[in-house]
Amino acid sequence: MTQNYQFLPSTMPAIFPGVAGNAGKPKRRRIRPARVALHMFLGAMVALWLFPLFWAIYSSLRPYSDTVLHGSISWPSGGLSFINYQTVWTQADIPYYYVNTLVIVIPGVILTLLLASMVAFCCTQFSWKFNLIVLMLFTAGNLLPPQVIIRPLYWVYLNTPIANLGSIDVSKFSFALFSDNNLLYDQYIGIILIHVVFQTGFATFVLSNYMKTITKEITESALVDGANVLRIWWSVILPLCRPALAAMATLLFTFMYNDFFWALVLLKSGDKRPITSALNNLQGEFFVNNNLVAAGALLACIPPILIFILLQKHFVAGLTLGSTKG
């Protein structure tokens, strides 16, 4: 293999077909068995990965009667249609549950970012002997599996009084301020809070690593100019952290959107569920129309996919954020 990488002018075009000087000539690339094997392997992996997705799309486009009569592994005899999507949109009230999800996710993301940036700001911009311990605590909390605390948490939720200050009613939606049963249990706010609690650890970890790259001189000069701590946080540091905040917001959105567990355990009312757990409503006591479930699951996938396409840049930024220390 090594002789291919002798950097002689004559071999350059073979390795780097795009290099200047050869632009006019037809490009020839030697096809090597290793390369063929690699591409076959990659192709097979792509097919393996995409197979379930395409299977779900295919199922969702078939009427269930067709699957019953001919089996799920068969060509469609009655043609494909969007009938399952129509049914799921109306029967499962998909739009209603999208709104439920937003009611939980949007305040959740904003609160998490505010709180996490405060902690990260204090622990990175000011010298305090517990800086490291606090950061470690937040990171450690991130590693706690949520399932282990579910029993005590259930009782905490059942015994925490929350004020009932009326509700905001928009057509068939009724959003309580803050609790319609005077408890934390079975409330949107309960789900928002538990998301904030569990995501703050990770967000603090990432944001503090980012804030370490901001020199302390900026904070110090703002102090000299007479800004108080809150003002430095809001007007100086947060604007500088915009890329980090955007990346975190996209990540947190997908994390909270994908949640199934908390909503299932801490909500009792079927009509308060976010879309992920509401998909269960498509299953009956015995009978399950799997084609309908496939259609519902694909509809539920759309918002995170949209977010990913629109904010791709931030996703990638989010992956490497804080990977190097300042």
Partner: protein
Amino acid sequence: MNLDLSRRDVLKIAGYGSLAAFIAACGGNTNTTTSGITAKGGSMSLGSYNTDPGNKKGTQALVDAFSSANGGTKVKINTVDHGTFQNQISSYLQGTPEDAFTWFSGHRMRFFASKGLATPIDDVWDAVKSNYTEGFAASVKGDDGHVYAVPTDYYPWAVFYRKDVFAAHGYTVPTNWDAFKALCVQMKKDGLIPIAMADKDGWPAQGTFDIINLRLNGYDFHTELLTGKQPWTDPRVTAVYKKWSEITQYYSPALSGLTWQQGADQLLRKQAGMYLLGLFVSDEFKASGSPADLDQLDFFPFPDLGTQYDAEKALDAPIDVYMLTKKSPTLSADLGQAKAFMEFVSKGSTQVLYWQNAPGSIPTASDADKSQYPALTAKAVQIVSSAKRITQYFDRDSRPDFSGPNGMQGFLLKFLANPSQDTTSLQGEMKAFWDSLPPE
């Protein structure tokens, strides 16, 4: 002025404020009229697991009918899907449940009744019990002798088949074990899977265990075994597995990877000859969208095994019930309405209204109008009413943790993987698992 509020003060103020709002909100319900144990008007709430489209519509129709019959009682329904409702029932009943809820009879009802999570309704039952047969009356009693539920619908388990397949091959319905096995042999010769079995989800095989144990060892032994009063190492259990192993060779191939719906598809597509399942098998036939197939669906009771217990004609016929919770925050205010609701659902006319939307649920009340029943339903009513003993299905008659995937579901899959095995060690595992369970 000192406004130095502590955290407790803030909480107190918030608490009183919300209490005041709550009392003000309750003040609206002044149109309640009480007569005896029931009350008209007012409001109540219902936790429902009916998410199948038909059952959901039926529940709504039933609630609307109740509302207009009971002076406009406002009923708030909380619908949660069946699976989640069952998985969370324990935390649901201990939290802030609705006033009334949909549930099952059998051990599952008695368990929550004995934990003090259900309200006894002996007074309602006294008013409606003349509308029920002995079997239904026995199914709603708790361990303490009080009544905790109103039975509203049921469905039987039996051996389903297609009439046209039987006619085409000249098969006759087998009434005893030898005829049943001979039919299996013939079907196999004719290229059919004699008996569809689809046990991916673990529970369908329990139906076969139930019926063979009932026929071989009788109702009393069966219920004692499922509640731990007889050991799983008993030779009578060994006999059940031995009997069962005589027909396992006729089962669907790869049965541990098939869902019950795929099993039903085998019957529907004339690949399989028979299928031991509940009446809900007809749901899959309906979903096929061809009424001609549904018309061909028929069933017969499991064949006799030549024991003294054949005369019991016992079978699984799970009964669905309505119950009242205990910890509902609104129950003390709504008790009259909730009891009126329980009385209402015990009426034949109410149950027929529900059945019209959800035809898999056969009414339990004696005064239900049976004239509209299609043949399949009428036959189901007939075999259940001729049964001298009715069981509720393995997972409703036994502890949930014992009948679940780590317990009996797993053990039966192990048995079906190698039916000719000596079951002594498997039965030992069952006993050891039962003994390892914490007291309920």
